[in-house]
């Protein structure tokens, strides 16, 4: 399951969707808006996606992760829009019969998202504003 959305999400709800009786292991990673950034207070974080490409890339990552590891299901939710410090940004979850696969699967997905998925962050710090990568 892949979603790029403005709305927040509930992890408990995602757990319900991921759970499989024949699997004993669910691994999760939750990324949140961090403040301070480079020693400066964060006022807000703006996230922008190249939606069609990001969804395509996430689908490929999900497919590759399922092939690489024994994952029964995967959940990737990436928020866009204007967020505040502490807000949820990203949830990656994977369910597997094996703990090692679930954990490795989430790591793999996180690495790929960082590298491949066209989502861009604009940092509003107390005294400066910039895009990551600028």
């Amino acid at each position: 399951m892949i979603r790029i959305q403005e709305e927040d999400f509930s992890i408990d709800e995602q757990v319900c969707l991921l759970k499989r009786n024949h699997c004993g292991a669910i691994s999760f990673f939750l990324g949140t808006v961090k403040s301070p950034f480079d020693g400066k207070n964060v006022v807000a974080l703006e996230l922008e996606a190249y939606m069609e490409m990001a969804e395509k890339k996430l689908a490929l990552i999900e497919e590759a992760a399922k092939k690489e590891f024994k994952l029964e299901d995967v959940c990737i939710i990436h928020r866009i829009g204007n967020l505040l410090p502490g807000d949820n940004i990203l949830l990656v979850g994977a369910v597997s019969v094996s703990r090692a696969d679930a954990i490795s699967g989430v790591n793999y997905i996180l690495e790929k998202i960082k590298k491949d998925v066209p989502i861009f962050k604009k940092e509003y710090l107390e005294d400066t504003i910039f895009w990551h990568g600028e």
Partner: protein, 89 residues
């Protein structure tokens, strides 16, 4: 190597993101280009048009939702993205 754009006979859509969207002041536009164009031609066209200071900007490009090199040969109706490096997650 910049090619001439004489002989316009196809269209591409160019989409702008992040800082580039702010500089161009638009999210997307349709450009008319020669049917012998490569991605680099369109990038040059855009940069000339908006006088974008690319110096030091680690830009990436996509064609039809795949990252692409500037020598990628374009087809009619291709969708080009001018992107910053991914910073999601």
């Amino acid at each position: 190597m910049k090619k001439s754009l004489i002989g316009v006979n196809m269209k591409v859509i160019v989409r702008y993101f992040a800082k580039i969207r702010e500089i161009t002041g638009r999210s997307e536009e349709v450009l008319d280009i020669s049917n012998k164009s490569v991605l680099g031609d369109v990038i040059s066209l855009v940069f000339d048009k908006y006088i974008i200071e690319i110096e030091g900007m680690p830009l990436l490009y996509s064609v039809n939702y795949e990252y692409a090199d500037t020598d990628t040969v374009l087809q009619d109706n291709d969708e080009i993205g001018i992107l910053f490096p991914a910073s999601g997650g």
